[in-house]
Amino acid sequence: MADLQAQERHDAHRGFPPTGRSRVVDGLRAYRLIAWMWIRSTMAYRASFAMTVFGNFAGTALDFVAILLMFSRVDELGGYSLGEVAFLYGLSSAAFGLTDLALGSVDRLGQRVRDGTLDTLLVRPAPVLAQVAADRFALRRLGRITQGLLVLGYALVVVDISWTPLKVLMMPVMVVSGAAIFASVFVAGAAFQFVAQDASQVQNSFTYGGTTLLQYPPTVFAKDLVRGVTFVVPLAFVNWVPALYVLDLPYPLDLPEWVAFLPPLVAVVCCALSGVAWRAGLRSYRSTGS
């Protein structure tokens, strides 16, 4: 009797388990649910929310203030005008800001692996990456995007770009593929933390370090560093390579012109690779003894 009732109740669910549904759709749904819960809980304190958004805005804007100070002494940085540097800066910050908003929490993965709290995510019916990424979703990170877009707007006003339809199209494509390239770095870094649980600093040097690097012209860095950022960890495709095409400036490395249109492809390949890395990492997870 009790058995039958139990069976009946469970049958009510039987339609639900997402067997055929794609994991991506599932992941996005879980992400939305968790993120929304965090938004609601932070919105409960509106005043403090406004403060933290502003704090994030001001904190990240300091990077640009540093550049402004530099230009108060010199007229050019590595052969670039203030407007041109602002163009690079704005693109890098906007793309990174999007990723930071969406995936900023994954760098805590190592902590979860070390203390075994990842266990609790594994027993829920949602992809682990979505749960990790949406954890503590913080709208205050909009601050970084906002200041990035403001600086980009400033650059568009002061720099004299010879616009073509292709260049106009490249603008949103750059931000989106740039965000995707950063996302793959975040995810690959998190995957690495399954193996080396103290690697969040390594990850930060690639993510936060990467965006700071891209805020400056490639001409101020050593050629080897530029090569590494182009061919090894292809962050150069976030802004440097495509942006220099838009600005009609030469790239310090000898690359054919069509390379400027590669960012979407680079983004897809990077995301696929980091996805594989994530799966391998997750498979190697072995919980803790207590």
């Binding site: 039958l4 069976q7 009946e8 829920r124």
Partner: protein
């Protein structure tokens, strides 16, 4: 019961395999542990946390899973939930291989880790529940009903708006149990659900689990170091040690294999020298009261008759063996053999 016919045809072959809801065949889990032996040098060692375990649990059973520290209990539960992938053997829960279809299985199981919470630490309890509601796609009516029942039976009403980190251990445990049950899981795994709870909280949790098993028909598998949990809840108990299953059967059967003894306490009319009687020995004398130990498997009646015939007997009582003593003897025997 008008939907009964509908349910019948839903028993698909892929879903339930006979009576065995949980089935393990020679399941193993080996951990590679690296020990540092010097700079950049390390030694690899293998820990066999679970060593070729086989058992089956039928739908609706309530089973205790016990063993000393490091026996492999938590590891088994982690394999049953899909957190860990077995190194060998075959494991099925509701016909599903947990580690391969973890998310699909998640809809059908509930898990409570006594040592850590599955709730969102910084958010009020009710927020966690609301999120579960959506994440598990629980129909609204069922969610409301299940939540109401848990809130009532686990006395959570006052706690719903309190952030989880502010809850006491016992309150958090009750909150966790409720969270594991909102989606009507067919099986509930509890890894030390009574750890650190006071007597009253323990009693509440036990009462709730008993109710859950009896009324909802939920299958329950629980690990514990408190044998009272087992005595009060489980008809069947499995003992594991060093990753091996040492015993699987009714709780009472443990006495027999543990070669335990029962105690007969007799009150005589006056102080007398220790009673001399066949198949029992005096273990303690205190004035006119004497304690006699005799094999647990043996009936007390003939013994009592013999004593009554030879001694001035006033009163008597029989004490069952202490299950804790039985088990610790079992553990010890294994360790020396």
């Amino acid at each position: 019961m008008d939907t009964q016919t509908d349910t019948q045809k839903d028993f698909g072959p892929a879903d339930d395999h006979g009576d065995d809801f949980i089935r393990l065949d020679g399941v193993e889990k080996v951990f590679d542990v690296r020990k540092k032996t010097g700079f950049m040098r390390s030694e690899r060692r293998q820990v066999r946390a679970v060593d070729s375990i086989s058992f089956a649990v039928a739908r609706g059973e309530m089973v205790g899973y016990i063993g000393p520290n490091g026996a492999g209990k938590s590891t088994t539960i982690k394999m049953l939930t899909g957190i860990l992938t077995p190194s060998g053997g075959r494991l099925r829960v509701a016909g599903i291989d947990p580690s391969r279809e973890r998310t699909r299985l998640a809809h059908r199981i509930g898990v409570v880790f006594g040592q850590r919470t599955t709730l969102w630490w910084d958010l009020p309890l009710i927020d966690s529940y609301r999120l579960m509601h959506r994440m598990y796609r629980i129909p609204d009516a069922r969610y409301a009903e299940n939540l109401d029942r848990c809130v009532e039976l686990l006395e959570l009403a006052e706690l719903l708006d309190v952030p989880v980190r502010q809850l006491s251990l016992g309150q958090r445990m009750r909150g966790d149990i409720a969270a594991a049950l909102l989606h009507d899981p067919e099986v509930l795994y509890l890894d030390e659900p009574t750890i650190g709870l006071d007597v009253i909280s323990k009693a509440k949790v036990r009462e709730f689990l008993r109710h859950l098993n009896a009324e909802q028909g939920t299958t329950v598998l629980l690990t514990t170091h408190d044998l009272t949990d087992i005595e009060q809840l489980c008809r069947r108990v499995m003992v594991i040690d060093h990753g091996r299953l040492m015993y699987d059967g009714p709780l009472t059967g443990l006495h027999e294999i543990g070669e335990s003894e029962r105690t007969l306490v007799v009150d005589l009319e006056r102080e007398l020298p220790p009673i001399e009687v066949e198949s029992a020995r005096v273990v303690k004398v205190e004035g006119p009261r004497q304690w006699l130990a005799f094999p647990a498997a043996q009936s007390a009646a003939p013994l009592v008759a013999r004593i009554a015939a030879a001694y001035p007997l006033v009163d008597l009582s029989v004490r069952e063996p202490d299950i804790e003593a039985v088990i610790s003897r079992m553990y010890a025997e294994k360790a020396t053999s």
